[in-house]
Assembly symmetry: C2
Homo-oligomer: 328 residues x 2
Amino acid sequence: MKTVIIGTSGHIDLALGVRDRAHGVGFVGIAPGSADEDAKAFYIDQLEATLIPWYDDWRTMLDREKPDLAVVAPFFHLQSAVARACLERGIHVFVEKPMATSLEDLARLRAAHAAGRAKLCPMLAYRYHPEFQAARRAVEEGLVGEPLLLTAQKSYKLGVRHPMYTRRATYGGTIPWVAIHAIDWLWWFTGGGLVEVTGAHTTKGNRDHAELESSGACFYRLANGGSASVNFDFFRPAAAPGHGDDRLRVAGDLGVVEVMNGEAVLATHDAAPRKLEREEPRAMFLEFVRHIETGSPMRVSAGEAFAVSEVALKSREAADRGSSVRLR
Amino acid sequence: MKTVIIGTSGHIDLALGVRDRAHGVGFVGIAPGSADEDAKAFYIDQLEATLIPWYDDWRTMLDREKPDLAVVAPFFHLQSAVARACLERGIHVFVEKPMATSLEDLARLRAAHAAGRAKLCPMLAYRYHPEFQAARRAVEEGLVGEPLLLTAQKSYKLGVRHPMYTRRATYGGTIPWVAIHAIDWLWWFTGGGLVEVTGAHTTKGNRDHAELESSGACFYRLANGGSASVNFDFFRPAAAPGHGDDRLRVAGDLGVVEVMNGEAVLATHDAAPRKLEREEPRAMFLEFVRHIETGSPMRVSAGEAFAVSEVALKSREAADRGSSVRLR
């Protein structure tokens, strides 16, 4: 499976990091998503040793290499256009979320995907994190009862970010970039049960990152009458262990399952809280390759991925407007 | 200071539990808040040994004993009327929150208090919990920077509750009864910076408790552009340690302070996360007695208590209506 990389602004390590185990996958080219991406510097610094040929222009690379699969991670506002161009050429796409930074771009990408020429998978990789999968399985097995109250957290260290992050026009926003993972958990755990969103975000405290939202929260009404919320921030202190502080709590009348510190803990009425067994980690990229080859199901379908991206963009809209937005 | 107890449906232990240390305070009578309160059974079972004289009617008790101070904890919908009657007689009031279960009752109580004949203190006792005080101090000292994102949790075990809890008319709702503590934390930590609320709650999963809301969430816009949220539930599993799972997280650009498991932990950019030192516990009731005697300040003023109760009732309104309610 001839594979290329377009852009180095996202989690291309999700593919490159499992290169050794990606049997049958050959990386035949890498190119920036746009001329201003500084991808060349990144390439020289980090990727030259991978011996993947460099191209200055991704369209030329596609013409020349005729790949089967593209890993798409340009500046975020270009994700949808690059992914669309690939799909239209019949090239499968492993694309950074949110896949599009506007609802219009998302609709165009959806249409290109609906043409059915190639498959698409977004980098909503948490579905393959063992602790989240363990929690999801507990909910699926009915161990917490009906999920009626979900709370999720994404907290990252800010550091000093590339200028791309400092403009809404190129970055898209912290809700579609960061909170989207928590939105994906809510979508996954409730079976798509989000019906309305209210939200807020602020650029205050963003340490000279211009338009980048430092923090915010989204509140969701659920189809079953329950509630869910997401809080997200770039306030994780530099001295704290690890980059992120991901959390998810799902409560129902039979129990509470919670993901924190990389563990899933289940509490039920008849047993003391206990850590859930975690599966062996699976690489989303390898699952996608297998999906392309054999049709094996992904934990997030393309349809779901579009729905989650749409919720993220509508959540940003709610936060921008300071009012509620219907989700269905 | 002659003290009476009216009603046994709330946290009268906040007063009785520190009886030995309440120098100069004599409990001269106890009476139900209403004839249907079952207070007599509770009295016989738990309070007879205290040797506090029993009265069938609290008005008779007030006439007879002419107390200086009343601990008021009847069925929740009666809190405001009893407290008001005490204030009007010039009796100081230590009253269970939310102090009133409707905005109209709250306004009446506020007016009675404004007449200035006696002092009033609500049982918002978390302000005297050492871990919350430690976190508050850290924020006050600027250690997290400007608080821009606050998340709070109240989770309790449900058990089997008195029928009073099963009707909105007597109970008032889970937001004014349970979530109010988290609302108080937000009010306290933001200096009253809550400007709008959206919320949801549900009775689903309430295990035959009729109208009692099992769970829900409230989302607040802050005056400084930040966000805050509260999630609350009666889903804490029976087998989990302790009755409640109280949490508060306050994030700003300089750090994050968090209360969980009875500890306050501060994380800043220049030091690894560390537990904050906690003061010696102080009893709110004793502080109130001292306040009456010497005018020493309370950590929650009566004015703030009215504001917090009002936010709680408006949050319930937002959850009932499924829309936003302005708070100022």
